[in-house]
Amino acid sequence: MSKVGLIIKREYLRRVSKKSFLLLTFLTPFLFAALVFVPLWLSTIKSEKAKQVAIIDTTGKYAPLFENDEDYVFITETEGSLEDYRNNPDKDIFAFISISDDLLTNPGAATVYSTKQIPMGLKNQINKTLSDFLRDEKLDSYNIENLKEIINESRVSFNIKTIKWEEDGSEKSTSAEVASIAGMVLTLIIYMFILMYGSMVMQGVMEEKTNRIVEVIISSVKPFQLMMGKVIGIGLVGLTQMFLWGILTSILVGVSLFFFGGGTSPEELMSGQMAVQNMSQMPAGGSELSLQVHEILNSINFAKLGICFVLFFIGGYMLYSAMFAAIGSALEQQEDAQQFMTPMILIMVFGLYAGIYSMNNPDGPLAVWGSLIPFTSPIVMMVRLPFDVPVWELILSFVLLYATAILIVWLSSKIYRVGILMYGKKPGIKEMIKWLRYK
């Protein structure tokens, strides 16, 4: 086995067999799954007992309007007055609605009282019930025949359909929402991975330097081999983790779906979440929506997305981890590390924000430039990918990223060569230039 191979093997096996790695790798998908399912699950749980709400309605007009549901039971109170209840609180009754006058003429005449904070749900329900009734009453007061029907008919709900023309002229439904979310998730993951594994490279380099083990190894391997072995080994750990997460998450989502019995594919569940978020804009009609989202998700090319993700991860990781290695080699104390990492993290955070802002306009100048400049391209491109980036831009971005990565790896290896063996003094520019030529 070649020396680089040996180093890669050691770096890889040592990290993969660590307890913390195993724990993180196998627990995180559960965490992800929990993030998706716990809110869904919680929303399906009903409160154990419906709360009682007493209505003291002196007009008698409004009390019958309130309909009981799973959360609240409305009782019409005719005997006691509000003051009685205030002085002798009845523990069973959660809230009191007091209506003392015709609300059309005196809108301030209705109040809800409680010893607790009134939940938004209850308030909204009361408002809705009363305003629906009042609107109808008002409409009736105009004395125009069939006005209510006319108004109802005129209320048109509109949601434009987005169709993308394929090269071959066929049509595909697309959804900006689904694409945005997919892009955002990928952006965050690639950002997290590059940062996490890049700083792991730096830690490793510093460990070897502060341990002085590098002085022993240097008589057997070249610094470049040592650096590349480390970078590649740790990168493989990252890919392994990504791969395991992908598999585990899909299994978990599949299993949970089976128990929920709701859908048949993970995509549909994701659409369920979307539906919750877009409840206000989208009209009800579950089956139609689910069908629509299914179609939209099918329009995203997951294989292409996956391959691009891995390729951009590798390029971005090489670029950043080489820089991290160079920084690690130049430092002698862990405390200095944070300080020197800051500029690089700033660049990455800039990429992340560029990605987030690109979401609204994935073909805008910020997005296009961000996805071409190698230092931000792995992050920003992820936002654009689900929106179908022109092939030439994708290729240009790849070429730029990999060319820069190779250049940076070469430069970093020179800095690494000097830095890793330098103790107790800061290398000057002149010294650096000499080292660039020394073999």
Binding site: M1, E208, R212
Partner: protein
Amino acid sequence: MNFLETEDVVKQYANHLALNKVSIQVPEGKIFGLLGPNGAGKTTLIRIINRITAPDSGEVRICGRPSGPDDIYQIGYLPEERGLYKKMKVGEQAIYLAQLKGLGYMEARKRLEKWFEKFDIMPWWNKKLEELSKGMQQKIQFIITVIHEPRLLIFDEPFSGFDPVNAELLKKEILELKNAGHTIIFSTHNMASVEEICENIALINTSKVVLSGNVTEIRNSFKTHNYIIRYLADKGTLQPADPLFRILEQNNQSGIIEARIHKQESLTNSELLTALAGQTEILSFSEEIPSMNDIFINTVSASNTLQS
């Protein structure tokens, strides 16, 4: 034949000159002592030989030709500040490092087991390095340095951290390595060990070589022509006015006198002994040859006074 030579090596650090035209010659198959007080520049020179750092000017030659990047594979280096992976198991780590030095897995394992048996540390094979005492770690570091049997071995303070028993064991191994034909550079402050194992030395003080050559020759050249003799007091006393020697001091310990005398430089030892034997009954006669320790201290302080 010299295995390694440095010629006029200069290394300037930001605000001090670490090496000032240092030239040393290390003969093949011999143990070479690189001596000098702290901060003299020994470690810098070793790092230059190892190509860890580059000289500003001057040249390092191996077997007569300028050293190149591939020469480091012929060098085994035991740095003064020892370094191994703390969290890695001892055996696994030793095999990994041996493989990096070019041994196959089976060969590495075989050789390591032999060395581990020799140093009696086989039970530690599966322990993590950080669980071992400093001396144990040193042994492992030593084994890793020599495992690939490089032609040149450089030991920087190899005995530090060892108890006398283990230091003796290590010394034996170093001598065995020499007998097997390895060239050894040995950097130390421990002058007793220099006398015992080094054939040649270079003494570096304040960035310059102030003394170099064969150990025996150096010691002889520092001869003071002083002798310690012990004789019986009742068999006559030494003549204070003898033209051949001068009595420096004498003291009587229950009938046996111990005297320190200085002989005329032209006189041989036998002539001196004959002269002495004519005057009294000699119990013992020995020449005062300065220890490396004395030579070290004298030379260093002399060169320091010269400079200031």
